[in-house]
C-alpha cells in the first residue's frame, strides 16, 4: 500500500522483503488508525462506564439508596419506555443535585440523557421516555453538589426492541 508495485518490478529479487516489510508497516498504520478515538467509538460499543467517564472524569460512582429509578418491569414496546429518576436531596443552595445521568447497558450507545438541575429545581425528579433495544440493565447516576456520584441499577425486560432496523 505504501511501497508502490513499481519497486517489485524494478528489482524483483531483493525487494520482495522490502515490499513485505512495507506491507507490515502499512498494516500497523491501519491498526493504529483503527484504535484512534474517533474510529473506535463507532466500531466497538462503548460501555456505560466509558460514557460516564466522558462526562464526569475519573470519579467512581457508589451505590446509594438516595437515587431511585422508576421503570416498568416489562416493556412491551422498546420504542417508548417511560422512566422517572428521582434523588432524595434537600435541593438547597448548599446541598443539591447538580445532574442526573441515565445509561443503558444493552443499547448500541450507552448514553440516554443527562439532566442538569439547580437549587431552584426544588425537587430532583425528572421523567422522560427512552428506547430500549433488548432486555437489559438501566443505570442512573446522580452527581451531587459536593462532587459525590451515587448510582442505582435496574433490570428491565423488553419484549420488542425499539432501535429500528
Amino acid at each position: 500500500m505504501i511501497n508502490p508495485p513499481a519497486v517489485v518490478q524494478a528489482t524483483p529479487g531483493a525487494d520482495r522483503r522490502a515490499v513485505l516489510l512495507g506491507a507490515t508497516a502499512s498494516g500497523v498504520v491501519l491498526a493504529f488508525l483503527a484504535s484512534a478515538p474517533g474510529v473506535s467509538a463507532q466500531d466497538k460499543p462503548q460501555t456505560w462506564e466509558d460514557a460516564l467517564k466522558k462526562i464526569v472524569g475519573d470519579a467512581k460512582p457508589v451505590d446509594g439508596k438516595i437515587i431511585s429509578l422508576d421503570l416498568p418491569e416489562i416493556a412491551e414496546n422498546g420504542n417508548t419506555v417511560p422512566f422517572t429518576v428521582a434523588v432524595d436531596s434537600p435541593m438547597s443552595d448548599k446541598e443539591y443535585v447538580k445532574s442526573v445521568h441515565v445509561f443503558s447497558t444493552g443499547n448500541p450507545q450507552p448514553s440516554v440523557a443527562s439532566f442538569r438541575l439547580t437549587p431552584d429545581s426544588g425537587k430532583a425528579q425528572v421523567s422522560s421516555r427512552m428506547r430500549l433495544a433488548k432486555t437489559q440493565d438501566i443505570v442512573g447516576v446522580a452527581e451531587l453538589s459536593d462532587g459525590k456520584l451515587i448510582m442505582t441499577k435496574r433490570t428491565i425486560k423488553v419484549t420488542i426492541g425499539g432501535c429500528g432496523g
Partner: protein, 107 residues
C-alpha cells in the same frame, strides 16, 4: 421539527410551591443506526439539547442521546420564585432551534 411544542404547567401556583413542568415536542429523533431501503445509513438527527429558564435564569437543562424516544417528553420540577414566565428551547442536530415562552399563573 415544525409543530408547536406542548407544555403543561399547573393552572396556578404560589411562590414557594414546587411545580412539575411537562414538555413534549414532535421530532423523529433519528438514531443514525437505521438504514433506508437501499441499505444506506439514515443520518442521525435528534434533539440533542433542551433547556428551560424562568425569568431569564436557567432552571433545567438536558443533553439527549439517541436513546431518547421519538417526540421527546421531558418533565422536571421547579420551585416557584414568584411571578414570571418560562422560556423553553429545543435544538436538534440539524441546528433547528425551537423556542417557546409561557407565563406561569402565580396567585
Amino acid at each position: 421539527m415544525t409543530t408547536k411544542p406542548r407544555i403543561k404547567l399547573p393552572d396556578s401556583a404560589k411562590a414557594g410551591d414546587v411545580i412539575e413542568v411537562k414538555t413534549l415536542i414532535s421530532h423523529v429523533m433519528e438514531t443514525g443506526q437505521r438504514k433506508d431501503k437501499d441499505g444506506k445509513p439514515i443520518p442521525r438527527n435528534i434533539i440533542n439539547a433542551f433547556s428551560a429558564s424562568y425569568n431569564g435564569k436557567p432552571v433545567f437543562g438536558a443533553d439527549l442521546a439517541p436513546g431518547i424516544s421519538a417526540n421527546p417528553y421531558i418533565a422536571f420540577h421547579m420551585k416557584v420564585p414568584g411571578p414570571g414566565a418560562f422560556e423553553f428551547t429545543w435544538v436538534d442536530d440539524a441546528g433547528v432551534k425551537v423556542s417557546e415562552t409561557l407565563k406561569l399563573n402565580v396567585v
